[in-house]
Amino acid sequence: MTLYKQTALLLSLFLLIILTTVLVLNFQSVNRGVEERLYEDAKNTATSLSLSLGGANGDLSMMSTMINANFDSGNYRKIALVDVENNPLYERVTESDLVVVPKWFTKLVALRAPVAFANVSAGWSQVGILHIQSDSTYAYKQLYSILMDLLISFAIIAALSLAVLNLLLHAILRPLKEVQKQATAITKNEFIIQENIPYTKELSDVVLGMNNMVSKVKAMFDKGNEELKAHKELEYTDEDTQLRNRKYLIDRLPAYLKVDASYEGGVNMIVAFNGINEANERIGHQQVDKLFVAIAEIFRKSTRDINESIVARINGTEFSIFLPGYSESDAIKLAKSIQKSCFNAIDSAGLNQHETFVCIGIYEYNHKNSISELFSRSDNALAQAKFNNEHIHLEKTDTAVEVMGKVAWKQLINKAIEKSRFSFVSWAVVDIKNMKTVHHVLSINLILDKNSSYGYAQFMAPAIRSGLSCDIYKKIVTMLFNDSVSLLGASTYSLRLPQEYLQKQETYHEISELLRANASMLAFKLIIELPDRLVRQDSKNIREYIELFRRYSIDIGIFEFIGESEDYQYLKELRPSYIKAQSSYFLTQSDQSISSLRLITDSIGISLIAVGVSDMETLEMLREKGISIVQGKITETLELD
């Protein structure tokens, strides 16, 4: 319960108790006043009537007449005359019919009309004692009317007081709301500076303290951001040509060499320069460096229009042009064009084309290749290129013998989608500091029958080839939201959504409909993992997704992070729960880079998770780098608490 509600409740209760007490006391006072009035009236009548009765000289008939005359005036409940020995001489009693007020009121208010007494004498002799009790009917009517007036007055006062109280509390606690907003923002790793410092001393101290803290965290983030950007320049860029370097290429390759890569294959081109030593001797180092800058420009221009192409200088004389989804025929055309341009550049530099020339090895890779395989095969192609006349050689990938043909896979996957023949499997992401599972990563199997199924790695490549990967994701996302109860094993699950699926036009609408209908019934906490490549674009599309997930309290994670962004402000905006990167990424980063990354992530509460950890050696190296949350085969062998 908020402080406002607690205070409002307490003060309202206090106010109502005070008002009720005042009301009751007021009414009791009026009640006593009325009783007193009844007595005084009775007493006055008793005295005056007793004096009158004295004039009757003890004649009972005369006295009765006098009593009747008084009684019939209607304001008495009882008039009685008793003699000196307490024997009744005469009595008149009326039964009040209290129709003037509701019955509940007469039950609630026990009005006691006191009896007044007076001595009655006749000359020197004692006649007796006169008893007079006033009629309470009128008093009841008067009291009822007073009670109604009091209730109405107090109801108005209570309503006005509560309204004023509400306004006052809002005014007093408004700064506190701002403080709360700021504190909540900090909890969510959103850092806002409160411009309006509250007047109240205590609140102003809190706001100043939080502002100070937020400023420091912002400074930390900015420092980390600047440092990481600077390190990225150093670590991923070739100083001479401003092209990407070998390290960058290696960090990027895992995103293309995986079962569910966007492209099933493509081309890696190694462009090597021969006779550089001779060139150095002939025109000097500076001119050769200029030649490389010109060559780098040729590479940039040649690949500018090729989607997702990576040009990297992998050593002093060799360049890699990595072209996902590119065909061998196009690659040969491109190689020839590059070769020609390079010859021209060499010629322009005043070098001998027979002494200094370009060889291009083209390897047509497959997404199932490993990085080392890709490099060795590319090197092999380059070696071949050096020995042929054209100095260009194409090496094709080994075509694996598929058990099932493309058509058969397509049919199988289509049927699985139609019949919902997918099942979820999961594996743990472990914090090795305290040996606890952080969350579970979801994957899917394609079920063949009761005893056999295909794993994700087996069916996803054919699915991509058949253009069915988005349909599979659509199916499993639907299954996840509609049947979340079947996954009750863990409290937190993460699901990785690929770029192709997210970028599909209808996906946003489908997911938002699913969330609208099922998010409240989700039986576990869900983290949606988005690819870093997509997130850092900061497109309208991705902002909509983030907004949507936040609305339904679904956390966001980032995967395939390699820290190649120009700026890391997007992390501050997105505030993911964690960032997942290949273990090799963390291991090849310099200590300064990791430290800068940690500065950024720690300042806004993002965890770093290394994926693909398969052996203890890697685990230990990661631990040394300060990465304590891991995902991969190793987690199966860890003994968890």
Binding site: Y39, P114, A118, N119, S121, S125, I129
Partner: protein, 207 residues
Amino acid sequence: MFKLKVLLILSLLFTNITHADEPYVEDSLLEKISNKYKIYAKKRFELLQETLDNVRYKSDLEKLEAVNDFFNEVRYSSDIKVYGKSDYWATPWEFLGKDRGDCEDYVISKYFALKYLEVDYKKLFFTYVRSTKFKEPHMVLTYFETPKSEPLVLDNYNRKIFPASQRKDLTPIYNFNGDILDEADKKNEKSHKKWDELKLNMQRKKI
């Protein structure tokens, strides 16, 4: 049954002895009166105590005479002179302390002295009368042997006690006994304005 009777007699005896030992004006109050009204006032109260002690075991009539004679020695003075008020019912301590008062003050002092002497208070009445001689309102204390018998009049004008029929100079108007009215309605603390004031002053030991 016999035991019960013995117990009853013993308790009555004890009550009487206890009461007999109690002075009409307790020592502490007497001290205060002495301080306020000087030594002669104290002497008056000691004389009153002596008078009351002398008739303690006598008949009602003897008690009436002793009390009437004693208080009739006090000088008459109007309330306006003594208290600066047109009408004031003084406590017996004020009356005897100041050694002056008006007719109501005589009646009050006589009434409480007789009550002290265990004269049944139901036999005593404050009687509002009209003095035909002075043609003014007056108050006397009346004593009724029985409720229906002719009362005796204890007056401060005529110092001797006479049956009411012999007091042609007085026209009775109204008889009043606050204690009787109080007894009739024990729940209510009020019975008669002047009587209620007097009771309060007596409780506060007003001197």
